[in-house]
């Protein structure tokens, strides 16, 4: 029995207890069970982390799940440095969100249901990161999708929430289709699902030469495999073109947005790519796709984030943008940088979302930043923690975001991807701008809606506690793990598992690295300065800029019209064809044929019914005539 199994059991048991007894018996005490479960996971995860630091690792089969001839699917767990980091991220943020939810979801009629879903989510995410084979990854993958669906649609009586959860599910399904294909290729190629089977250097080199022509283009087998897997990552990690579900997912309760749609679930794609680094590093076409998808998503998210007015949507697009960064990092081969950014991002983005929840709490669920302002005095803790989150995400040293983001930029530069590097640097400036834009609009200046401002108040301790804790992590996590650049603790820790065999990592000259670092700080500072200029110093500037760039602003404000485009290209044709098949084919052809079979007997019956008069004397008469006729026939012939 491995100690790590406890990590899985905690949330699972909490889920079962709350799920079975929550509605009738536990009700508003559900948080005790859920926090006990996730707390156990958290403690064991920290212990595991230190044990892994000491060289401990586990790759064990707990039992054989499917055994079909030579083909086996074990239910096994894998604990290595990558898993240990993910465990820390998942359980820390999850525990904080659990505590925060005690305050935030207070008085909600679905209190026990909320904690039940949180537990099943935590369990699923842990399955995802702890599995030792592709199928367990996939099981976790689908389970987090399910729990995300349940939590986005938590207030299912709101149509927008019900629509959003369906959209999230369908978009993920599209990506999962590719994921299936990738999985099948892995099974067929490596005759097994275990990571240890698939990631063998010799096995990969052996199949490297296999190429196939798809749509007139030459792909190697590994390219096809990884492209399939990456489709799954695009769905789960909200990459272009499947990114549209994530902003809509903000319909869910804010703790859920923080946990699932910022810190953990959406990073599953990054985790998967990093986990499969042995495959991805050999897939050159896929790597290009990954870099440019990540780059474009980062740019897309940032441009939309610039123009939004809904606080949670700003954060959601910022998440899309940051996920783009991570994906881009994995594409250029900087797996450590990608995971490092995942790690720091989980803390500061989780923090920012929880802050937005705190603001929402104070503003009676209104999220329009145009109605806020001057909340600094009313909510000091939220103010300071949000500021920390903003500085962290903007990339000002020594806060967490700087270390990981700068590393991604440096590695992109070092690997010779100049255009992605340039775009990512611009995006870094934009990120600093729009994050501080939201910060200034919400907390600084004068109140824009006096009535709402008067009713604003700081949140209870159960909510501010996690804020402070995450703020501390946002300050420290980067420097503690990432200093010195490219040679910090995290590199030594993750390096062994995330450096594919045969890869030649590029390193920068010390002076170049320093130049890049200064450049990224300058860009971030410029973003913050422009933001200050626009929203504090000269408040008339935003209006003027919008007027000057009207078409561009409209384009960005409407999210590049992606929803409209998908409606026109996909939804509309499907609805039109379905309607034709329904009205035209189903009703006129199929129903017509079936009805015809019914109508013939009805017609015959309609004629024959007149024989049945209901008068018995007619019947008797008929019988007598019949008997006479029969006698006549038999006695005359």
């Amino acid at each position: 029995m491995h100690l790590e199994v406890l990590i899985l059991l905690g949330p699972l048991v909490a889920f079962l207890i709350n799920g079975l007894f929550g509605r009738l018996y536990i009700k508003n005490n559900a948080h005790f069970v859920a926090i006990a479960g996730v707390g156990l996971s958290w403690i064991v995860s920290i212990i595991t982390f230190f044990r892994v630091m000491g060289g401990h690792s586990v790759d064990a089969t707990l039992y054989n799940w499917v055994a079909a001839g030579k083909f086996n699917i074990p239910f096994g767990i894998l604990v290595d440095p990558l898993t240990a980091i993910m465990l820390i991220v998942v359980t820390t943020v999850s525990t904080m969100v659990h505590i925060y939810s005690m305050g935030y979801m207070h008085d909600d009629e679905g209190y026990w249901r909320f904690f039940t879903y949180l537990s099943i989510f935590t369990f699923s995410m842990l399955i995802l990161v702890m599995g030792n084979n592709f199928l367990m990854l996939f099981v976790g993958w689908e389970l987090v999708g399910l729990s995300s669906y349940l939590l986005i649609g938590f207030w299912f009586y709101k149509k927008s929430a019900a629509d959003a959860c369906k959209k999230a599910f369908v978009m993920n399904r599209i990506g999962d289709f590719g994921f299936y294909i990738g999985l099948l290729l892995v099974i067929v190629t490596f005759q097994g699902l275990n990571y240890s089977d698939a990631f063998q250097y010799e096995a990969i080199q052996a199949i490297k030469a296999n190429t196939y022509t798809v749509f007139g283009m030459q792909f190697s087998l590994i390219d096809l495999m990884t492209l399939g897997l990456f489709c799954g990552a695009m769905g789960k990690s909200a990459q272009f073109p499947l990114h549209t579900w994530l902003p809509d997912a903000m319909e869910g309760p804010t703790p859920v947005s923080a946990l699932i749609h910022a810190a953990t679930m959406v990073t599953a794609g990054v985790y998967m790519v990093a986990r499969c680094n042995a495959l991805f590093s050999e897939a050159h076409i896929t790597s290009m796709v990954v870099v440019y998808v990540g780059m474009f998503t980062a740019f897309l998210g940032a441009t939309i984030g610039l123009t939004q007015y809904d606080l949670k949507r700003i954060l959601a697009y910022s998440t899309v943008s940051q996920l783009g960064y991570m994906i881009m990092a994995t594409g250029v081969g900087a797996y450590v940088a990608g995971i490092f950014h995942l790690f720091t991002h989980a803390f500061f983005k989780g923090l920012l979302f929880l802050c937005s929840g705190s603001v929402m709490h104070a503003m009676h669920n209104d999220l329009d930043v145009r109605k806020m302002g001057g909340l600094k005095k009313k909510m000091p803790i939220t103010y300071w923690t949000y500021l920390v989150g903003c500085i962290a995400i903007a990339g000002i040293p020594p806060l967490a975001g700087f270390w990981s983001k700068d590393e991604i930029l440096a590695m992109t530069f070092a690997n010779g991807h100049m255009f992605p590097w340039f775009v990512a640097t611009v995006v870094a400036g934009m990120t600093a701008f729009y994050m501080f834009r939201s910060f200034f609009l919400v907390f600084e200046g004068t109140p824009r809606n006096q009535h709402m401002h008067d009713h604003a108040h700081e949140s209870p301790a159960t909510m501010t506690g996690p804020l402070v804790f995450l703020a501390i992590l946002s300050v420290l996590a980067g420097a503690v793990f990432g200093y010195p650049l490219e040679n910090g603790f995290i590199h030594h820790f993750l390096g062994p598992v995330l450096t594919p065999e045969g890869a030649h990592p590029h390193h920068l000259e010390h002076s170049t690295a320093l130049m890049l670092m200064i450049l990224s700080i300058v860009v971030a500072a410029a973003g913050i300065f422009i933001s200050w200029l626009y929203y504090i110093k000269v408040p008339s500037l935003p209006g003027k800029t919008v007027k000057a760039f009207k078409p561009v602003h409209t384009f960005f404000y409407n999210k590049w019209f992606f929803d409209e485009l998908y409606d026109a290209l996909i939804v509309f044709p499907i609805v039109t064809i379905s309607r034709f098949l329904w009205r035209g084919f189903d009703v006129n052809v199929i129903d017509f044929t079936v009805n015809a079979f019914g109508k013939v007997p009805m017609f015959i019956g309609g004629v024959a019914r007149h024989l049945q008069t209901g008068r018995m004397q007619t019947y008797i008469f008929t019988m007598v005539v019949g008997v006479i006729v029969l006698f006549t026939i038999f006695y005359t012939v």
Partner: protein, 101 residues
């Protein structure tokens, strides 16, 4: 004049025909019922005649059977007619056509 088998058979046939005509043309259920009894008894005459002619007791035994059935039928049939009258206030066969298709 000697009574031969033919006389009996003709009597039987005449009574049977009368009974059948009654069943077919009368509208009153009671009268139809009596006509039915007439038909049964016509058959009885037939059976008795043949029994005597063939010197075989089987025919007469069957007469007892027919009479037993007729008695039972009378009891049930009359009860049905009474029940029908209570519900419909009529025993006119013409008006009892709720089973019309």
């Amino acid at each position: 004049m000697e009574l031969t088998l033919a006389h009996y058979l003709i009597l039987s046939a005449v009574i049977f025909a009368l009974g059948m005509t009654g069943v077919l043309i009368r509208k009153n259920l009671i009268v139809m019922f009596m006509s039915l009894e007439l038909m049964l008894n016509a058959v009885n005459i037939n059976l008795a005649a043949f029994s005597n002619y063939l010197q075989d007791m089987t025919g007469q035994i069957f007469i007892v059977f027919v009479m037993a059935v007729a008695a039972a039928e009378a009891a049930v049939g009359l009860a049905l007619i009474i029940s029908l009258f209570r519900n419909k206030q009529t025993i006119n066969a013409e008006e009892l056509n709720i089973m019309r298709g």
